[in-house]
Symmetry: C2
Subunit: 102 residues, 2 copies
Amino acid sequence: MDRSYQQLDTLLHQPARLSIMAALAAAQEVEFAVLKDTINISDSLLSRYIGMLEDAKYIHVRKGHVGKRPRTWLSLTATGRKAFSEYVETLRKIVGHNIGSA
Amino acid sequence: MDRSYQQLDTLLHQPARLSIMAALAAAQEVEFAVLKDTINISDSLLSRYIGMLEDAKYIHVRKGHVGKRPRTWLSLTATGRKAFSEYVETLRKIVGHNIGSA
DNA sequence: CATAGTACTTTACTGTTTGTAAAGTGTCAA
DNA sequence: TTGACACTTTACAAACAGTAAAGTACTATG
C-alpha cells in the first residue's frame, strides 16, 4: 500500500539467510552442521552468510568442542531477534490483510 | 525448518514486485501511474517489472484511454493470484506461521 | 611420521539481478 | 513546431548469488 517495501531489511530478505534466522528464532542454539543439513546449503555459503549475520550482530557464534573436535553453535542476539520480528512485521504490512484465498 | 525456502518464487521475492502483486491483490484493477506513486518506484523499473510479471502471466495489462490520453491498467490473473498466495504460504512456513494473519 | 579426515573458512570466479539514467515511441495540445 | 504525457527500451555500473577449489587447524590412524 505505502512504500514500506523499501524498509525490508535486505540482509534478511534472502531465502537462505531468512531460513537461518527463522531456525535460530525457533531454537536457542543450533549447530553449524545441523543448520547446514536443515536448510540444505553448502558449507561455504552457510559460512559466508553466518559471517554476514554476525557482522550485523544479528547472531552470536560460539565455538567449542565436542570431545576433541571443534564445533560451532549459532544463536540469535537480541538485535537479531528484533530485526527478525521487524522484518516479519514489514512483510505483513506489505502482504498481509489480503490473503483471502489460500 | 525444512528447505522450503528454496521454493520461494524468485519473481515474487523482490520487494517492489511483491508490492505490485500485493497492491493488485487488494484491488481489482490499478492504473500504472497510481501504482507508480503508491509504491514509489521509477517509471522504467515499474515498466520492466510489469513486463516480467506479465511474461510470467501473473498480471494482465489492459491498455485504453482516458479522454484521448493513453492509460494502462494492471490486474492479477488467476495464475498470479495463486502464485501470490503460494508465495505467502511458503513464507509462512519459513518464518513460522506469523505472516498474513489479519 | 605421514596421510587422511573433520569442521569449517577463504578465495576466485561466473552469471544474474538491481537500480538509475538517458534516449526512444506514439499521441496530443498549444 | 515544439513540448508534454504515458510509458518503453537500452545501456551500464554495482551488488549478489552460488559453486568449486584451496586453505587452516586440529585429530585420528596406520
